[in-house]
Symmetry: C2
Subunit: 241 residues, 2 copies
């Protein structure tokens, strides 16, 4: 059913040395639970493309290591130490993405996969040097915020483009980063962090959304629109949900 055999590597760059898979679990738990909410094991399994049984096993080990708190059949929550580790990995990942894009002209649809591997091998020193070399970026190429060295991250939540009402203008702040094909498509449409969009109309019943983006008119489906986070512009009141 699943990806099959795969092996692991204990990381030894600096701190407490977690394995690659452990870092991936912590990152997933953080991202699903937005840092604090309790997370279902099945959701972790889905995100990491593993079986639920594997996650149950790993989660128990994470609890033994004090990285999560966990009660059977209830969810999983990061402990303070797990949270710090997750943010450290997240910082590595996003700094690497930003560096690949900024310093080595990597196309934005390919930085994610490369960073996914490098984040487990790069030392904190390397990551800090990368960050310094490109001017201490605060977001990655997809607009995701980069945690600080100290483990602080901007946790502002944004509307998705799908939630924006007709007539409203907004600035794209972030797009989801793990589907290269989708990223290429968004890039073609000029829907990238920083660009300005105006919702011209929204067809009912999950219908297409018409937009103006940098002068041109285009139309996208709600599934895609929901992957684009925006900050509303000008309009005094927040758009209706």
């Amino acid at each position: 059913m699943k990806a099959g055999k795969r092996e692991h590597l204990r990381l030894e760059h600096g701190d407490e040395s977690l394995t690659g898979p452990v870092e991936d679990y912590l990152k997933a738990i953080y991202e699903i639970g937005r840092g604090s909410v309790s997370v279902a094991t099945n959701d972790i399994a889905q995100r990491l493309d593993l079986t639920a049984a594997s996650v149950s096993g790993m989660v128990r080990r994470l609890a033994e290591q004090g990285l999560v708190s966990y009660e059977r059949y209830k969810g999983v929550t990061l402990t303070e130490s797990g949270r710090r580790a997750a943010l450290r990995t997240l910082r590595r990942h996003r700094v690497i993405e930003a560096y690949l894009s900024g310093a080595l002209s990597y196309p934005w649809d390919r930085v994610h996969d490369e960073a996914e591997r490098l984040e487990h091998a790069a030392s904190d020193e390397l990551v800090d040097r990368m960050a310094a070399a490109i001017g201490e970026p605060v977001v990655d190429p997809h607009g995701a915020p980069i945690p600080s060295r100290e483990g602080l991250m901007d946790e502002t939540e944004y509307f998705s483009l799908a939630e924006l009402g007709a007539g409203y203008a907004a600035r794209v702040v972030r797009v989801s980063d793990d589907d290269p094909e989708m990223l290429r498509y968004l890039g073609d449409l000029a829907i990238t962090p920083g660009s300005e969009v105006v919702v011209i109309s929204k067809a009912p019943y999950e219908g297409p959304i018409s937009l103006r983006v940098s002068g041109s008119l285009l139309s996208i489906g709600p599934a895609l629109a929901s992957q684009v986070l925006v900050a509303p512009l000008i309009n005094p009141e927040a758009p209706a949900h």
Copy 2:
């Protein structure tokens, strides 16, 4: 006795996807045997800091994968495919070292350890971009030759500074790269690839070697001198062995 538990990671960046440990074995076999000579399992064990038993087991697996040819109690030799894989890893390692040093100002005594981890995670595309970004270097910061994309490497052999006779001048071409403390010391002495040394005198019975390096006089032991490879200058005949 040894380093204990450690886990592994299947690499999936591009080619045939070897595990980190497998890449390390192939690299070690290549470096010990200079690419073609048959290598003793114990020598591999020593270099990788593993037990001989572990190496025996792994070498059998490598043979099954067609990466080495191996007959029990005889040595191990890389097959063509193993040789290619070794050179690919060596290229990754050295390009990364050169990049860290050239683009991120990493000190030369720390690039080795960082590259040792990154070489298993970086894709060939990333390595090629790094190489391009620093002008396609042909040697790493310690003077070791970088294999080409096509898997060709300069295999010139050099004398060590310990073999150089009194009175001879030479240019340092390469120093061994895996001992950070030694590298810092060599750096302090200005014994780095490209610098010119003259052997003033050599005390007998493994005694100290007096040198002139960039104007200053200094004296080093033969153990250190043997870690420094040089190309003789001017003098018509090769120095006596």
